[in-house]
């Protein structure tokens, strides 16, 4: 039973981290408020199913609502860049929590309790989340190799040059935001129906930083690195009490040390290691 909950948590964390990776990793648009979209997905799904709606319908609704708000915030990325965008997206996160706290229909400070069970049992729910996670990984892999992925990459590398090359920067940025925030909404809906309770603290600035930490530790833009980082970082607090007690300290130190010593994250470390090993073998064979 315990392993089931670990795998479920792992699955929606992977979706959440990959959704940010799409915006920040692929398209190079830093976001310090991504938890807001996770929250928008969680709240809209929770509202829908506590109001009697079907769980299966709640998932696309959560994606659509989160993606819609992502589309609006995406416009911000057309107006401001780099540090300005970082602070603007951070502001979006605070606007979300500040708004939810004051709204009675969203439960205010207390949140929404009694979210109905999807009614498919624990194991199928875990499999469902894992299937979505696999689909998002596949989508990320496909996207990265597609024409759109290359356009994202160009924008991430040098926006002005990309524009000169005739890439419709605005369209691709908005697309990245809609995809990324929509998937965050999906992760949020899955999360809400797993814990059966949403409150605004689950989607605050610290949560935005936690998901950013997964992307950073995995390696910005790296799919497998982010998957591994999200899987490990999301279940460690459940496995080790020490990690749960000092989660923020560990995240903080991780963010700093990764940036300080290996800005490419786990992904680039593994590649360097791999190159060393294979390089040495080649040399050994040569001698």
């Amino acid at each position: 039973m315990y392993e089931i909950s670990l795998l479920t948590v792992m699955s929606f964390s992977v979706i959440f981290a990959l959704s940010l990776n799409l915006i920040t990793g692929f398209c190079g648009q830093i976001s310090l408020g991504h938890a807001a979209f996770y929250g928008i997905g969680a709240y809209s799904a929770a509202l829908f199913t506590t109001g009697g709606g079907s769980f299966w319908l709640a998932l696309p609704i959560a994606m659509a609502v989160a993606g819609f708000f992502g589309f609006i915030v995406g416009f911000a990325s057309l107006r401001v860049r780099h540090d300005f965008l970082a602070i603007t997206t951070m502001g979006v996160g605070f606007l979300f929590t500040g708004f939810v706290r004051q709204q009675e229909f969203l439960g205010g400070e207390e949140g929404i309790a009694g979210i109905p069970d999807p009614g498919i049992g624990q194991i199928p729910y875990m499999l469902l989340c894992a299937a979505f996670a696999a689909a998002v990984i596949a989508f990320s892999l496909y996207l990265k190799r597609s024409w759109m992925g290359h356009a994202f990459d160009a924008i991430a590398t040098d926006e002005d040059t990309a524009r000169t090359l005739g890439i419709d920067v605005a369209r691709y940025k908005l697309t990245a935001f809609v995809f990324g925030t929509g998937l965050a909404g999906l992760a949020g809906a899955l999360f809400a129906h797993y814990v059966k309770f949403v409150e605004v603290e689950s989607f605050d600035f610290i949560e935005s930083i936690s998901v950013l930490a997964m992307v950073i530790v995995g390696g910005i833009g790296s799919i497998w690195g982010v998957v591994v980082a999200a899987a490990v970082l999301s279940v460690l607090p459940l496995l080790l009490q020490v990690f749960a007690d000092y989660k923020l300290l560990i995240y903080g130190v991780l963010l700093f040390t990764v940036m300080y010593f290996a800005p490419g994250g786990v992904d680039s470390l593994m590649q360097t290691l791999w190159r060393r090993i294979s390089g040495r073998q080649r040399r050994d064979k040569g001698q």
Partner: protein, 286 residues
Amino acid sequence: MNYSDLLVQGLVEGCIYALIAVGLTLVYGLLRILHIAHAGIFTLGAYIGLLLTNETGSFAAAFVITVVVVGFFGMAFYRLFYEPLLDKPPHVALIASIGLFIAMEEIYRMVFGATSLSFLAPPLKDTVTVAGVRLEEGRVVVVVLAVVLIGGLAVLAGRTRIGIAWRATVSDAAMAESFGIDLARVRYVNFFVASAMAAAAGIMVALLLNQVIPTMGGVPAYKALAIIVLGGLGNVRGTLIAALALGVIESFGTIYLDRVLDRDAIAFAFLIAVLMIRPQGLFIRR
């Protein structure tokens, strides 16, 4: 509460924001780093100030010692954490700074405990009447401090050798260096001034609320970020105006906007609205 009360309260809040935000904008102006861990330094000031006051019994002595100690801490912080990152892409320092800030909050929780600390004998709690508005002495001191420290900064920047060196470095670091300016020294002074001001703000906030908690830096820090963007990143004068304006807007906003947004989100609503119209902030960098 009548309008003049709201206005005065808003200006006092604005002075606190200004003390925090000016340091932040100085760091950005010089190094192009969004120094999020500035909030951790603010909290450190609050802790040291409170503990020293309780230990020595003298708020004034504790204040001076704290400001100087935290100023030096800021220099060490720069040397240890930021200097090695100066040549890396801008997001590296930003993310490292977020990590440092979160780690600092956790370290405070471990060292000082998660529960709030308070002054044994809270100083400056009497009320005085200024221009028909009744105010705690502490609030008056906040305004005086903001005027003295920021005024002092203006004199430092305008009249002294190091101030001129500092301004030259902000406008063109390579050129300044070729004229024999010691960039490292300018950066140290910059971090000393910024951290000392944050510490002063930290002690005063601790005094006004009569409590210090590990996470007290969070909200003012995020607001200070919004303020320096509004002020046009790196622009000290713009930052001052934005800080005072935000204090006043919040003070009125709690009356009129409370149903829609909580107080702490107002800054960002204002920020986003402004950025959508003027992406470079309210005030263009000189």
